[in-house]
């Protein structure tokens, strides 16, 4: 297909359309970055969905060290707590974390060292929830406090679902931004096409008089949109690629594996390549339809 065939109207020379490829480039760039953010959020969501299974943590406060009576009492309390937890409807399994596991959770704050083993440590129990809907956390807390005051129940599910909702919202906002960017590109080309119709009215009249159909004239605008879209889209894609490369460079230094993984993901690059093509396709349709409508009802 030769695009030269559709250059009877000098649309390239329009002052109104001179900046359109740059506007398209910027829009393609923004759409690609928005999609990348949506990709990152999507990856986070899938990690959280699989990583955070429905779990609760129960913490029995630390007791004084070197007290054999207290040790025996703690074992008894642990047993009672575990029984209460297992009797609670909706709870699956209960596991007591080893001393080393508890120490590893403290390492980020206290660092490594032999001295830590001498500290009075709380007892942590990991509770796997089978059915979140029927677990009554407040009743569980009440029953546990009767065994020993100060036992704490950490419910991950509450804030986890909040964060997931936030992440889903961010994803939806990302896609809405992409849609709006495409709409903006489409509107830009529709309005510039209308302006060009007025500017080139004389040439269009000549085309009509030598027997051109509305479709032939609309195709001139459609293929102009193709040229503009491809030109702007290529620049936008290159700008996004440069951004990815720079981000990847910094992500390596910051050890943010998620960003690194997303940027190395071939699916992201395929989508990034599709963005300019989609924008161009929408621009072509917008140019064609707006010109055809104008030719039928206005000119």
């Amino acid at each position: 297909m030769s695009l030269k065939k559709y250059t009877d109207i000098p649309l390239n020379a329009d002052p109104s359309g001179r900046f359109v490829p740059w506007i398209v480039a910027l829009m393609v760039y923004l759409a690609t970055i928005s999609l990348t953010v949506a990709f990152v959020v999507s990856s986070l969501i899938s990690r959280w969905d699989t990583g955070f299974t429905a779990r609760l943590s129960v913490e029995i406060p630390a007791q004084n060290a070197f007290d054999p009576d207290r040790d025996w009492e703690m074992t008894k309390i642990r047993g009672q707590v575990a029984q209460i937890l297992l009797r609670t409807p909706g709870v699956g399994t209960v596991r007591t974390l080893s001393k080393n596991e508890v120490l590893s959770t403290l390492e980020p704050w206290l660092g490594q060292g032999d001295d830590l083993s001498d500290l009075p440590l709380p007892t942590l129990l990991e509770v796997e929830v089978k059915d979140r809907d029927i677990v009554d956390i407040s009743l569980m807390k009440q029953n546990l406090s009767e065994v020993m005051p100060g036992i704490m129940v950490e419910d991950h599910l509450g804030w986890q679902s909040g964060i997931l909702d936030l992440a889903h919202s961010a994803q939806i906002i990302g896609f809405l931004i992409v849609t709006m960017i495409i709409l903006a590109a489409v509107s830009t080309i529709a309005f510039t096409s209308q302006t060009s119709l007025i500017i080139h009215r004389n040439v269009i009249e000549v085309l009509y008089l030598v027997g051109a159909t509305d479709d032939y004239i609309a195709k001139q605008f459609q293929y102009h949109a193709l040229r503009v879209g491809l030109r702007g889209g290529t620049v936008g894609f290159l700008m996004a690629s440069v951004t990815f490369v720079v981000l990847k460079f910094f992500a390596k230094d910051l050890d943010t594996t998620l960003l690194n993984e997303v940027i190395s993901n071939s699916a992201l690059w395929s989508v990034a390549l599709l963005v300019p093509l989609f924008v161009t396709a929408f621009m072509m349709m917008a140019a064609r339809l707006s010109v055809r409508l104008a030719l039928k009802y206005v000119l």
């Binding site: 030269k4 065939k5 000549v206 030598v210 027997g211 051109a212 159909t213 509305d214 039928k296």
Partner: protein, 235 residues
């Protein structure tokens, strides 16, 4: 041997044209143009010669009466069918209406391109035609760099390249010297001999006699047919 009666290609029946807040250009105008005929359309300035041609190439609707083109009522022709009717009509405009950003050869190739003919083939045909009208040296030059006469020949080449059934020329001799004017009219006669119906609008009333063709004389909204060597014939 009986000669077959030529078919009527254009017919105006009680046609009227009244511009809004303007003059009554035509009033109950009747006219019949047969296929393969050659007419000079004459009349004083403002009589409506260009307007009548515009009505034939479907660029102006009448406000009363009926116009038939190729057997079809002009008002019943759908918007999407107009281009196909126009492809049967070649027009040489008084102001040439050449597309300034296109070369001479591309201007002439336009009617073929809009028909979907391959642009390379269209350009080749256009180049051949331009050679025939003596413009082989200016094929790739833009029209505004050419003289009035050269532009006119490009306009004529563009009008005839699609082998139209009807050729309309609006004051084709107005911007050229006598020698070129004569050449152009001989060219139209040659086309007429191949079966093309020709209507030449001119203010020069001597031409019909010189070329021995009938005259349609427009005046005060009416058309009067003056046959070859004859007297005015009432509508």
């Amino acid at each position: 041997m009986l000669r077959k009666e030529a078919a009527e290609i254009i017919r105006f029946e009680n046609m009227g044209l009244l511009f809004e807040n303007g003059p009554q250009v035509f009033n109950k105008l009747n006219l019949s143009v047969k296929e393969g005929s050659f007419y000079f359309l004459t009349g004083p300035s403002g009589a409506g010669k260009s307007t009548l041609l515009k009505m034939i190439y479907l660029n102006q609707n009448q406000t009363a009466g009926k116009i038939e083109l190729f057997g079809r009522d002009s008002l019943s022709i759908l918007h999407q069918d107009i281009p196909y009717i126009r492809r049967k009509i070649g027009v040489v405009f008084q102001d040439f209406r050449l597309v300034s950003h296109l070369s001479s050869v591309d201007n002439v190739a336009l009617p073929l391109k809009v028909r979907g003919i391959d642009p390379r083939k269209a350009r080749n045909q256009a180049a051949e035609l331009l050679k025939w009208v003596g413009l082989e040296d200016v094929l790739n030059r833009n029209p505004q760099t050419l003289s009035g006469g050269q532009q006119q020949r490009i306009a004529i080449a563009r009008a005839v390249i699609g082998r139209p059934k009807v050729l309309l020329a609006d004051e084709p001799t107005g911007n050229v010297d006598d020698e070129i004017a004569l050449k152009l009219l001989y060219l139209f006669e040659e086309m007429n001999k191949t079966g093309t119906t020709v209507i030449v609008a001119t203010h020069n009333r001597a031409l019909p006699k010189e070329f021995n063709h009938p005259e349609i004389y427009l005046n005060e909204g009416k058309a009067t047919l003056i046959p070859v060597g004859g007297k005015k014939k009432a509508e």
